[in-house]
Symmetry: D2
Subunit: 339 residues, 4 copies
């Protein structure tokens, strides 16, 4: 019994003023999701000290929701090594890089009225539909500027898009900072977003016939995992980013290697395991597949990521020491050649 009743819950103390890192430390003494949040910060912090390649999966409308500078911070300060994102998040990043805004809106607005006004709504965020179409035009144009006679991985495409935005002096975002930092970005469903709409628009006008080498994406991310001394994962939401990173471990067998599974795993999710989907599933389930290591340090934080992610990253910004063991990628060379 004593082995079980050893660490008392420490009631959260209110101070006249405390920093975000102190907030997280206090949460570590509590229970339920606050304790999980604190564990998430602590596990991420461990990853930064260990020799580990850190994958980050980004799903949900996180850029419209104001998480863009958090992501830029993660990339610039190398708190992550490889990003997998939905196309929508990358398009919304482009949207802001092009100098446009997302706006605070009302979730109970009259949507038929908004439609007439040309305003697109995402929960409590508004955007100009015209500006959206302009962004799609930017993508069409960029796509037609590429070599039409060879396929691109989504990583190459997004890297070159980031380079172009850098060259044009656009506002700093995910694509630009990742291009500068040689952080690969994968987008497993690139057609399924305004990026895809933009390319389709260009194709219809005979401006491009761009092809993606989707299978090479799968191979590359697996190579990154295979070549890493160890891997860690951080998921914001589920969807294709979570699955794409999870499957990198089980794909390793195609290189004749059996991976140990991710050594560290943190997920921030609003989904639940009882529905059976990959987005809400536990890391325990992942262990049966070999996606997580048998002894992995892992935690699920059930929270809207707009709350949990800024807190964790603010705490890391306050306390984390600089990484000493930056992983080198098999892709580094190619990325740099194109730099």
């Amino acid at each position: 019994m004593d082995e079980h009743l050893h660490t008392p819950v420490t009631p959260f103390p209110i101070s006249p003023k405390s920093s975000v890192s102190e907030l997280v430390t206090k949460m570590a003494g509590t229970s339920f999701q606050a304790r999980n949040l604190a564990q998430g910060a602590e596990i991420w912090s461990q990853m930064l000290k260990d020799e580990v390649t850190i994958f980050f999966g980004l799903a949900g409308a996180m850029i419209p929701a104001g998480m863009r500078r958090v992501m830029v911070y993660l990339i610039e300060n190398r708190l992550i090594d490889c990003l997998v994102a939905t196309g929508a998040n990358l398009f919304h990043d482009l949207h802001e890089s092009l100098g446009r805004f997302h706006y605070q809106g009302n979730p109970r607005a009259d949507d038929r009225e908004l439609c007439k006004l040309g305003i697109d709504r995402i929960r409590d965020v508004y955007m100009s539909d015209d500006e959206f179409v302009e962004g799609e035009g930017y993508i069409a144009e960029f796509s037609s500027s590429l070599d039409q006679d060879r396929p691109y991985t989504t990583r190459e495409y997004l890297f070159l898009l980031g380079k172009k935005l850098c060259a044009e002096g656009k506002a700093e975002g995910i694509l630009t900072s990742a291009a500068r930092a040689n952080i690969p970005i994968y987008c497993p469903a690139i057609g399924d977003s305004a990026l895809g709409i933009g390319m389709a628009g260009g194709r219809v006008k005979k401006q491009n016939k761009l092809l993606f080498d989707i299978v090479q994406d799968v191979i590359e991310i697996t190579q990154i995992a295979v070549s890493a001394p160890a891997t860690g994962v951080i998921y914001v939401g589920g969807g294709t980013p979570k699955n794409f990173i999870q499957q990198a471990e089980v794909t390793s067998y195609i290189f004749g290697k059996e991976l140990e599974g991710h050594k560290y795993a943190v997920q921030i999710t609003t989904d639940s395991p009882q529905w059976g989907g990959l987005s809400g599933c536990t890391f325990e389930e992942g262990k049966s597949w070999g996606k997580e290591a048998p002894s992995a340090r892992m935690v699920t934080i059930n929270s809207d990521a707009t709350i949990a992610l800024p807190i964790i990253v603010s705490a890391l910004a306050e306390t984390a020491t600089k990484r000493r063991n930056l992983p080198t990628f098999v892709l580094d060379r190619e990325l740099k050649v194109e730099n």
Copy 2:
């Protein structure tokens, strides 16, 4: 259109160090639940400046989860004026006042093993079952010390219990600080908790025949609402505390008064409106009943309260000015007489 696209979402900026109040201010510029959290802090802050009686509903296993000192802070600094709680939270408060602990546990433990060891589990919290039974004994004894010839409101009972704990020099908690501060506490389902088990145990041993005047509780909380210049509500979870405070507005007609509805309303919940229950329902729905004022300032924060509540209260502790307009209760006299 310009009227809709006026306030850009401000991407959350990561700083080397920021205080919790700064965290909340940054969240106000984002979207989804982070913005709601910031609005919750702002609305509560407005209540403190206005002339308003603030009701607080506490449900969910918040004391085992480490929220006890947050509640004490709210009471001691008078950020709330009246508390409605589940019996479980008050019993867990008593448990800690008696010098016992809740312990950090494992949500995937073997519960049959725990049962054999005499350990009760609440998600990732453990308690000693023996200590629980001792707490119930304390309640039995206290109940038998009261006047058995007249009924008590739950407010009186809990006030006297707090006084006793104060007199015994027990560790400061909700019951003790509320007794000192003359903050009334109501418990609409007092039998439905270890408090009730304790009383039942005493009754069976012929130690007490204590009766509660449940209807007088309903009358009293309505009187508090009726006599207030305006009312505000803060709900952590749903259950009887939320309903009991919500219904105070609609009960006012029994005094020949038609109330305006609560002027301010903040709820932190993990429930959702689509299931139709009172716990997850919106404040918009409350307006149809007259529970919320037509022009009420209100927000729902969808978050585990272990995350959202400490953040909001920490931010208020950092920035809120002392209230100038403390409401006086019709009950003040009685509470003080017993003081």
Copy 3:
């Protein structure tokens, strides 16, 4: 491995026409919540064959949602032996017994407009506020007709209320059918509902000074559990009904008995365990407390009860055989005396 891979998932076959019982049988071959739903029906069916006292906890706005006749069926056909309900559900039952209706409404209605029209909204259900107040008047009058010089358990009160409605020839509902069938109903938070408002209204007009013996409710339900050869539980939602029935097992020690825990347990819930509250907690957690038996047959069905409950009860109506072992209560005598 073969011990694990023995029962294939059987894809759900679509037939030109199938009965609800066949639907449930097909669901038993699938996975996720459909399989859980089928297991819920099967476990309930087992309870009916075994010698077991069946407790039913009813929370959520189930009567406004159209579950009244389902509840009446359960009572009349003795698929349950003891009901614990929220006051709201019982008041809504009274409302329909008095010949009034709940109406299909729109969850996106303008609630300020509804308020002006005197319409109360519960998600997609409307009611007349005037009729509500009349129902509260009925309760006030009924309460004043009772003996004011002795306290009532909620069971007695609700039994007598049911008897009165029967005598008046009111439409058949929960209260009336339970009174006829001698099924005890407990309401652990009776003040926290329109029942409480009605009584408070009568009290203010000096019509009644009714007292409830809340502690006796706790003792009685424990006696029912203690005197049963075995117990089974079915929970629709959480709240006080679930807790009140769960705690009956742990309260048994006041009679010097250590109970085995409920032998069968089925819950239909839209809550999740990760939030730590009692409403969403697992029956595994319940085992640590001794609330569920170590070898209990139990299942959690994550579903809106408006879907799952009618399906399960329809399937039972189609297939279940009549119970041979109806439990006898220690309360039977008293209930019958008042009959």
Copy 4:
């Protein structure tokens, strides 16, 4: 007021025996999600009578969960015209077509033990990992059998895969029945699944260098929408299938057409709108984008699809009349050529 209080909620009546269609009809008289479920069946039924192209989005682990034959029924009886699915669901369909099984498992199993035994777990479903790898080998081989000198749309690829399975006399599933019925299937993230792993495995062994024309997929589904007299959508879960179909409406501008938005929309989801993601968002939000028509008939059913989908399809099987207005696709010719 009378305009609001016109349709009483009809309490669900329990019958000795009722068919699934009668079950749904009874649910239409209730509230909350049961009423929504009934509306979903009714709206789908309307689609079948109208001249409308019906898109179906399939996400979540629905095939492991036993929904394969439901999908086959929808395809064979032409209750849908175009399917968009996750790669995982299509791989699990292949798995069963190859004569393998998914097995009923335990969600609380020891996942490290399962891993050692070579068993992959999806909530309460087990699979043999070896059989999985064999399925990936099948995909590698199939992929190398295709023309390596031209890219394929996912529709073409999946059509040819279905044809091959038909030719081999494999067990009837989604891929085979869709190939027979000329129902196009799109898979916007085909690399992000065991399909992708299989292709990557083949690529590494130099067996194939298969390319997908992802952009053509976007163009094609938009053409289907543009050429339809009207469109209806049914979503099981969110993810890429929901987004891909939703975006088809807004992409129409690349053909110089402005679509009206989907005329009918039904979604079965376990997600909620408050998190801001596309998976959980309302169809109201979709209206702001023009994804849903201003006057669209639409409903969201908050339920595990393993419960709601078989019920709705069983009810349609019982009552729906044969469609008279089957849409013709611009793709029909090509599909048939390859037939």
